[in-house]
């Protein structure tokens, strides 16, 4: 059976709040385990990378070609250390241009 959308939202919000709240309220000491610190340090990179690729290739209406254009342009802009918004806008613009060209060719 499909759970109610509001139950999903409650679970999302509850888990997210607990993660933020428990260390602030319960642990007023520093973490000492080097393994745990290193693991927590690498988590965001692994997680965001896994969410981005290959999902970006199938995110657009134009399919893999416009998705790949967005990916390549975003990689270049990110490599040049542009701000979050700039990188995002460049990626959108690349998809827009490539989908216009594809529409023109077909």
């Amino acid at each position: 059976m499909k759970p109610n959308v509001y139950i999903y939202i409650l679970v999302m919000a509850g888990v997210t709040y607990l993660i933020r709240m428990l260390p602030l309220v319960l642990f007023k000491k520093e973490i000492t385990s080097s393994y745990v610190k290193s693991f927590l340090y690498y988590v965001p990179y692994a997680c965001l990378a896994a969410m981005t690729f290959p999902a970006i290739l199938t995110a657009t209406a134009g399919g893999i070609i416009s998705g790949a254009a967005g990916l390549i342009v975003a990689l270049i802009a990110a490599y040049r250390e542009k701000s979050l918004l700039t990188v995002a806008l460049f990626a959108c613009a690349a998809v827009f241009v490539v989908e216009r060209i594809m529409g023109f060719l077909m």
Partner: protein
């Protein structure tokens, strides 16, 4: 209340609030595409205040995933906030009550943590409240604007905007990967593992949330074992 800390927070919160508005605008559009109502999209933003977790969350709702999958996915994606809260816990003024700690906790995001960690010395919870007073409306109203206008925007605009979130993720992970080979390895490794899950028969039956969980725990776990971070400098 500490008025000067609160005002400083409001001021530092303005660029964050503007950035949040733009990001959550695309979240609003995608939530509607995933079959949610505008009210549900806004409620998610107001109660979660996080980008990656929310985007993964609407994917799980759209795919009718289990509540366990939802809880575990949020736990893994948002685990970084746990690290930030540990750090913030040391950074707050001595003797800050649990009431303040419970409230500050709600606003632990990458950006809000970033500005509070960059303040000199210990901070007043009122500084965080100032930032939250700008950032939370930015995030919530951006979602509302996206959810309402998503239906009005032409399809080609929606298609182009759908890569915005991935662009932002890349803007977060690529600069550190340039400077730190271990982070580069983690990024490439995680992309490779998630590609295996997307393409290999049987593995491609595993749902989105679990792919993120398995990939993250596996790759970060291996990296932490082989490349433990230095005690100083690198961790921030």
């Amino acid at each position: 209340m500490n008025k000067s800390a609160f005002q400083k927070g409001l001021k530092d919160g303005i660029p964050i609030g503007l950035g949040y508005f733009a990001v959550s605008f695309t979240f609003g559009i995608m939530a509607i595409q995933a079959g949610l109502s505008a009210l549900q999209a806004v409620l998610i933003s107001l109660t979660n205040l996080t980008s990656a977790g929310q985007f993964a969350g609407i994917g799980i709702i759209a795919a009718s995933g289990s509540l366990w999958e939802m809880a575990l996915t949020q736990l893994v994606i948002n685990l970084r906030y746990c690290l930030m809260s540990f750090s913030l816990s040391q950074k707050l003024e001595k003797g800050v009550s649990n009431g303040h700690r419970l409230t500050v906790a709600f606003g632990v995001t990458d950006e809000i943590f970033g500005v509070s960690a960059s303040q000199e010395g210990r901070i007043s919870p009122w500084y965080n409240y100032g930032v939250m007073c700008v950032a939370i409306p930015g995030w919530t109203l951006g979602t509302l604007a996206g959810a309402v206008s998503g239906n009005l925007l032409p399809d080609f605009m929606v298609s182009a905007l759908s890569v915005a979130i991935y662009g932002m993720f890349l803007a977060v992970i690529i600069p550190p990967a340039k400077k730190n080979r271990a982070v580069l390895g983690v990024v490439i490794g995680a992309m490779a593992v998630s590609t295996l899950f997307a393409t290999v028969p049987v593995l491609n039956k595993v749902s989105t949330g679990f792919v993120i969980i398995i990939t993250t725990v596996l790759v970060a776990g291996i990296a932490a074992y082989f490349c433990p971070i230095e005690e100083k400098g690198e961790a921030d």
